[in-house]
């Protein structure tokens, strides 16, 4: 599955990378983020685009599974 590693990237990079994955036509992919702002921004993006998002913690990182 497509993985977007957005750890250590500052705003708005995580959202840009996720948007690009959506634009490239992936039906499902994961985004890994390591801060709360990026998590909120990705969730707002998926909500705006009408996509499903499932969140789980992996250590200090947050993994967001994005699906159509």
């Amino acid at each position: 599955m497509k993985k977007v590693d957005a750890r250590g990237l500052s705003c708005p990079q995580p959202v840009i990378l996720a948007s690009r994955a959506i634009a490239e036509g992936y039906d499902s992919f994961t985004v890994i983020v390591d801060n709360e702002v990026a998590r909120e921004n990705i969730l707002r993006l998926t909500k705006n685009k009408g996509l499903k998002a499932e969140i789980r913690k992996e250590g200090n990182d947050t993994v967001i599974l994005v699906e159509k």
Partner: protein
């Protein structure tokens, strides 16, 4: 509270609080249309510690200190304090310098551009158009893969350095230390630097704004950027509320005076008002946040944002020492050259700092 401030209502409340406090701070003594101006206030701090000797703009502004300490406390309480750094600090330092130079050619950062507009200063419209132009440029770079690289976690105490610096400045303000006769700390006796709300009110307002802005991720540049880049209207609803709240309270307090000529701490050179803010807007996008947001991030432990803020303070020293900063009389001798230099710098950074598209 954590989830609330991430919501649309949360950002609107944050914008409203900031707008009201800005208008009130002006009413209580801060300079006209400058209830809050991150750039101007950092410039006053630079003057107070002697980085420049423009004697009308020297004061340790407690609002700036409050922004950082409020965000610091908030991030500790909500477990978001996360020391990090190492994403092109030197470039961020210079982006900070040029962002400040652009702001001082216009005479205000994006925060003050909004507050100038809320006070009736028509020149602010030109500035905001310039700001938007700079942000459009920055968004174009972002769309083409511009990226300063990843930051990395740092040791936990690293994130305390910038807040500690702010605390030190606050102590120097409270105790008014004179390091030698005629030396720093300098406090203006006339001009905008001599105009300020009582210290305890300023610091309290600053801390309050620091907390709500840290929670809500309030960012003036980000508001426009998000609309252009991803059609997201979240942040701009907060910025719009700031404008409306400050305008409304200015009307009530008699602080609204519409016009272009003779506006307080402003000039009417449209070309350089526009281009000064274009430079700032571009530099803010390339660095990832408006000057306020950089302070809140620095409070959260983001050392790269702290470096940008230090760049802005040094940039203020440079702007006043080398005749780059405008005055109400107009643009200074070397202001235009510095803006052009800054734009060239930002364009080079924007074109060259790119990741491959397939990340």
């Amino acid at each position: 509270m954590s989830e609330f401030f991430a919501s649309r209502k949360g950002i609107i409340l944050a914008g409203g609080i900031i707008g009201i406090l800005a208008s009130l701070l002006q009413y209580l003594g801060n300079p006209p249309n400058m209830g809050i101006c991150v750039a101007c206030m950092e410039r006053d701090i630079a003057g107070a510690i002697g980085l420049h000797r423009a004697d009308i703009v020297q004061y340790i502004r407690p609002e700036i200190i409050g922004f950082v300490l409020g965000a610091f406390l908030s991030s500790l309480i909500f477990r978001e304090h996360k020391p990090r750094g190492g994403s092109a600090p030197m470039i961020r330092f210079f982006l900070g310098i040029f962002a400040m130079i652009g702001a001082l050619v216009f005479l205000g950062c994006p925060w003050r551009a909004l507050l100038r507009l809320a006070g009736g200063d028509g020149n602010a419209i030109v500035g905001i158009l310039g700001l938007t132009t700079g942000i459009i440029g920055g968004v174009t770079f972002l769309k083409n893969g511009y990226n300063l690289g990843r930051s990395h976690s740092q040791k936990s105490l690293s994130g305390w350095i910038f807040p500690a610096l702010m605390l030190g400045l606050f102590l120097m303000l409270v105790f008014r230390i004179e390091f030698y006769a005629g030396g720093p700390i300098f406090f203006s006796v006339k001009g905008p630097g001599a105009m300020h709300a009582p210290i305890w009110i300023s610091i309290t307002a600053g801390i309050l704004i620091g907390v709500v802005a840290q929670r809500s991720r309030f960012c003036t540049m980000g508001a426009i950027r998000d609309v252009l880049l991803i059609r997201d209207y979240h942040l701009i609803s907060g910025v719009g509320t700031l404008l409306i709240a400050a305008f409304g309270l200015n009307m009530i307090l008699g602080q609204f005076h519409p016009g272009f000529e003779g506006q307080p701490i402003a000039h009417t050179d449209h070309v350089w008002n526009f281009l000064g803010m274009t430079l700032s807007g571009l530099a803010f996008v390339l660095a990832g946040g408006c000057p306020g947001r950089q302070l809140f991030l620095a409070g959260e432990g983001d050392m790269d944002a702290g470096i940008f803020a230090l760049g802005m303070i040094i940039g203020a020293g440079i702007a006043h020492n080398f005749a780059l900063a405008s005055s109400p009389k107009g643009v200074a001798a070397f202001g235009p050259a510095a803006v052009i230099t800054g734009l060239i710098f930002c364009l080079i950074i924007g074109f060259t700092m790119r990741d491959k598209m397939n990340t």
